[in-house]
């Protein structure tokens, strides 16, 4: 009886963890055309492993490791425009915009779209966010599952290698160039 209960709990937790993972198979076909790709998929096991470093981790990272359950990032960069059609990227939108998401920003253009959505937990609490940004030469998907919202992300400016640029309406467009430059130096 106990064995069955333990098995059920394990199965439920595995299903929950699997459910948090967004489906990025729609980007598989485009990977071959991309000149540069970034693929990060960190689940609970990897984050637990990272937490094993203990006090060697930066305090911010220790805090995030306790609250974030999954981190998925996929970026594709293309040398020239027209490497993909909007229909192809629509598949991506359909496959990732599922679950308890509350759309914050949804912008559609003729050559791309942007979606920023907050993830809600079962009790309506904040449970992460999702960013999908499709531009003529770049596709980026960022999915965070856990207690990290955009304002917490903004607070990381200047820490953990995140460029020290405050998110906010003022001066953002002016500083965009320097953000890219700073990141290029970091990478």
């Amino acid at each position: 009886m106990i064995k069955k209960q333990v098995f059920a709990v394990l199965l439920m937790s595995w299903l929950a963890a699997a459910a948090q993972e967004i489906d990025l198979r729609a980007l598989k076909a485009l990977e071959a055309k991309a000149s540069e790709t970034t693929d990060i998929n960190l689940g609970p096991e990897q984050i637990k492993l990272m937490m094993g470093l203990g006090s060697e981790l930066a305090p911010e990272l220790q805090g995030l490791g306790k609250t974030v359950e999954r981190v998925q990032v996929k970026t594709l960069q293309f040398d020239k425009e027209g490497a993909y059609t909007l229909a192809e990227t629509e598949k991506l939108r359909e496959s990732v915009m599922t679950g308890n998401l509350v759309s914050l920003i949804s912008v559609k253009k003729k050559n791309g779209f942007t979606e920023i959505a907050m993830r809600k937990g079962p009790k309506g609490e904040n449970a992460g966010f999702l960013i999908v940004n499709v531009e003529p030469t770049e596709i980026a998907v960022v999915s965070i599952v856990g207690q990290l919202d955009l304002s917490s992300l903004a607070k990381l400016s200047g820490k953990l290698g995140v460029p020290n640029i405050q998110m906010g309406p003022a001066e953002t467009s002016k500083k965009k160039g320097s953000a890219k430059q700073e990141e290029e130096e970091l990478f």
Partner: protein
């Protein structure tokens, strides 16, 4: 003076050359050989135990080193993911600021 011949007899008796009991030589040789075998077994076992301990400690060290290397790689990936998330939010924000300019009220 009576005791002298007895003593002499006793000495003679004691120093009399006698033949070794049968199979003594074989027994001695067997005992020596088995002691040698036991000693070589003990040495072999000690070596096996030492090797096993060395392998266990080595494997554990290697495992810990590998775990640490993987944990450091995860930490780097985590940081990179945060940087990309931050960059994307900034880009979207910049795009919105450019595409949807804020209309300030006209003041005289």
């Amino acid at each position: 003076m009576n005791e002298s011949p007895d003593l002499e007899l006793q000495l003679r008796e004691a120093l009399r050359e006698t033949s070794a009991p049968p199979l003594l030589r074989a027994r001695i040789l067997n005992a020596a050989a088995s002691r040698g075998r036991r000693s070589s077994h003990a040495v072999l076992w000690r070596r096996i135990v030492a090797l096993a301990a060395l392998l266990t400690i080595g494997s554990f060290g290697l495992y810990r080193w590998e775990q640490r290397r993987r944990a450091e790689a995860v930490a780097e990936q985590f940081k990179l993911a945060l940087r990309i998330a931050h960059r994307e939010v900034l880009e979207v924000q910049a795009k919105l600021v450019v595409e949807v300019p804020v209309q300030l009220p006209q003041t005289n």
